[in-house]
């Protein structure tokens, strides 16, 4: 029976942004990077749960938070009914015997001044050797320790173990180092392993080997994996359930098969479409989202994907910033920029939440208002529909948006999606 091994509720991890003294006085308020902004999921024992997303979406932050390298700002993390959100030092020590992390860059994860045998031995010395009954006892002698390390080398396929014990990391290949890192983690006999992009730095022709290795380990040691990657193809192969992340939130989550067969969230669809297929006879015209992932300090309002979403609605979270971005993109064409110079330049516009304002000073605001109305009408689309009014306030033109609809995760056809389309 599969109980939830790990349960995460509304996890938020914010990092303070280092601001100079003067900036703080001028900018005002606390500025934070919203790396993880309200994420909830649970992992069942024995499954491979995938966390998929592009860089900056927060997946690595979640990995570090689970292992205690980063402190959760709020929310709750539970491991088998035990709350481990803010563990004290002793509790943390024991959490680490149950949840461990495999790194993307195996070479960087190993101290260059230590042999790989020593690296594993050190872990055993600190935590003790695992016995049959599941307890941990300190090793009785150097020899016993060494034998334990040999067994681990053997388990991860580094044979003969005696040969590898005294090797330094720079004497090994990428795949071998990754096995050492795995062995080091296994020395703790964890139940849950968080694998953060374990094959991203390996060549394609050897990735399969590493993935097979990870699956072997899982079978042998009854492991549960949280598999973090940006590669949807690998995730499809490896994972039972996946969660797609975007800018600190999960946008779609459910059984892998269900999601890949019929992705519901526009971002998931975009990701799947963007993957280059190694088959030149299936070249398709791709419809890609506009722009790039915005920074996590000021995430877009409402649904974070709305500025880039090809099927956004008027209620998805349009705000002042979006109209400014619209103007910027519009005026990439020099002719338009010149013709509409009255409303420009872009730098003169200011965004305040649902409003965008441009102060024209002594000039007559009326023509600018008319121009803006025309621009909006020409643009059309959900952004235009979301504008409540373009009016004059004193010496400024103000574009006001309607408030967005609240965004709530919905269960749709066997998975959970956070999108107003559903």
């Amino acid at each position: 029976m599969n109980e939830a091994l790990l349960d995460v509720q509304d996890l938020r991890v914010y990092f303070p942004v280092f601001q100079g003294f003067v900036q703080r006085i001028l900018g005002g308020g606390d500025v934070k990077v919203h790396a993880v902004d309200g994420v909830s999921f649970s992992i069942a024992e024995g499954e491979v749960f995938g966390l998929v997303g592009e860089s900056g979406c927060g997946k690595s932050t979640i990995a570090k938070t689970l292992v205690g390298l980063v402190r959760a700002t709020s929310g709750r993390i539970r491991f088998r009914e035990e709350d481990i959100t803010h563990p004290g030092p002793k509790a943390l020590f024991h959490v680490r015997e149950r949840i461990q992390l495999i790194y993307q860059d195996a070479h960087a994860a190993l101290s260059p001044a230590m042999t790989v045998g020593e690296a594993i031995a050190d872990v055993l010395r600190t935590h003790g050797l695992a016995t049959e009954s599941g307890e941990r006892v300190p090793p009785k002698s150097e020899d016993e320790l060494r034998q334990a390390v040999y067994r681990i080398f053997d388990d991860v396929g580094l044979r003969p173990p005696v040969f590898y014990y005294d090797k330094y990391p720079d004497e090994l290949s990428g795949g071998q180092k990754q096995r050492v890192v795995a062995g080091r983690v296994l020395a703790l006999r964890p139940e849950l392993i968080v694998a953060d992009e374990p094959v991203a730095m390996l060549d394609m022709s050897v990735r399969a080997r590493m993935l097979e290795f990870l699956l072997e380990l899982k079978a042998k040691y009854n492991l549960t994996y949280l598999f973090i990657t940006h590669d949807l193809a690998t995730a499809k192969f490896m994972c039972d359930r996946i969660a797609i992340m975007y800018l600190g939130r999960i946008v779609e989550m459910g059984p892998a098969r269900t999601i890949y067969a019929d992705p519901k969230h526009p971002y998931t669809r975009a990701l799947l479409q963007a993957i280059p297929i190694p088959d030149p006879e299936r070249r398709t015209k791709k419809v890609l989202p506009r722009g790039e992932v915005p920074n996590a300090i000021w995430p877009p309002a409402g649904c974070r994907f709305h500025p880039r979403c090809p099927v956004a609605l008027a209620t998805c979270g349009w705000e002042g910033r979006d109209v400014i971005a619209l103007l910027e993109e519009r005026w990439l064409s020099p002719e338009l920029a010149e013709r509409e110079a009255l409303a420009g330049p872009v730098e003169e516009w200011e965004a305040e939440g649902l409003l965008a304002r441009r102060d024209v000073g002594k000039s007559d605001p009326a023509p600018v208002q008319v121009l803006m109305q025309r621009i909006v009408q020409e643009t059309g689309g959900p952004l235009a529909d979301a504008i409540r009014a373009i009016r004059v306030e004193g010496s400024a033109i103000v574009v006001e948006f309607r408030a967005p609809d609240p965004l709530v995760p919905q269960e749709v056809e066997g998975r959970v999606v956070e999108c107003l389309l559903y």
């Binding site: 592009e54 022709s205 050897v206 499809k236 192969f237 190694p278 890609l288």
Partner: protein, 299 residues
């Protein structure tokens, strides 16, 4: 561009490293060629050799010729845009400096307007000119790098792993951008990458490199449909895509490029090897149609 017998050897404290050996590569005007291989196969070195951007301890032999005007410019974009842009200079200064280095007579204003035109081609807003590299997003920096390359209307753009540091959607966007630019500038592109999917989507012809040599070369569609060289076959089999149901890796590891070697470099890992492969190196020769070339004793 046409190279014949191009070889690059590095003199290292451990001995000579033959990064590139005997490469004949032809890139026709306005086409894209994908140079595919894994880490250490020499593809980046080859790219740099064409641009004469190699470090001091490199020895080049062989020829590289550019048809048409002899001094037609070539340009290179690098993998990690953050490290290639000077963090202490504003974007506009990058452009001004580059332009004036090439044409000392150009005034600042002329340089700026040329820069703006090129930035519009890569869809970067003008206000980014006054910013510093670290203030911009990764994709923006990559576009600026491309823009810098386009300043002199190069006939050949060499893109060395232009998308590895980025993410899938951004990758696709940059590639779309390159495609649109290619037609506008009538430019040829040499795409150096380990990502077979990119090559399949983007390139007209493909050259597969292994251990410093070209193992197979040909038009993209036939090569993917029916690869001849065992390494190419292995590589295509090991790619994980959305349809993968079974995992495959090529056994073994690439050989060291240190010192001299005998026979086919893929011999230890080849499932179809024969006795002759161990001692005699297979010269690359034309096989079949579509100007396909393979370096393998099977043919």
């Amino acid at each position: 561009m046409e190279s014949k017998g191009l070889s690059v050897t590095f003199d290292t404290p451990d001995g000579p490293v033959h990064a590139v050996t005997d490469v004949d590569l032809t890139i026709e005007k306005g086409t894209t060629v994908g140079l595919v291989g894994e880490s250490g196969c020499g593809k980046s070195t080859l790219g740099r050799a064409i641009l004469r951007l190699l470090p001091e301890n490199a020895r080049i032999s062989g020829t590289v010729r550019f048809d048409g005007t002899d001094l037609s410019t070539r340009s290179m974009i690098f993998q990690d845009p953050m490290t290639r842009l000077n963090p202490l200079m504003r974007i506009r200064d990058h452009f001004i400096e580059t332009i004036q280095a090439h044409d000392p007579g150009v005034t600042t204003d002329e340089a700026v307007s040329r820069a703006l035109r090129v930035l519009a081609d890569v869809r970067v807003p003008a206000d980014r000119m006054n910013m510093y590299p670290h203030e911009l997003s990764g994709g923006m920096r990559q576009r600026i790098m491309i823009a810098l390359c386009l300043l002199f209307k190069p006939a050949l753009l060499i893109a060395d792993e232009p998308t590895t540091a980025l993410d899938v959607i951004l990758e696709a966007q940059i590639l779309q951008l390159l495609q649109s630019i290619m037609h506008g500038y009538n430019m040829a592109v040499l795409l150096i990458t380990h990502n077979l999917g990119l090559v399949a989507e983007f390139a007209d012809r493909v050259a597969v490199m292994y251990a410093g040599r070209i193992a197979e070369e040909g038009a993209t569609v036939p090569l993917f449909r029916e690869p001849y060289h065992p390494y190419t076959q292995g590589l295509l089999r090991s790619v994980i895509d959305l349809d993968t149901t079974k995992l495959y890796s090529v056994p073994g590891a690439p050989p060291s490029l240190l010192g001299d070697s005998v026979g086919c470099p893929f011999y230890p890992r080849c499932e179809k090897r024969m006795a002759v492969c161990e001692t005699v190196f297979p010269e690359i020769r034309p096989v079949g149609e579509d100007r396909r070339k393979v370096a393998c004793h099977l043919y």
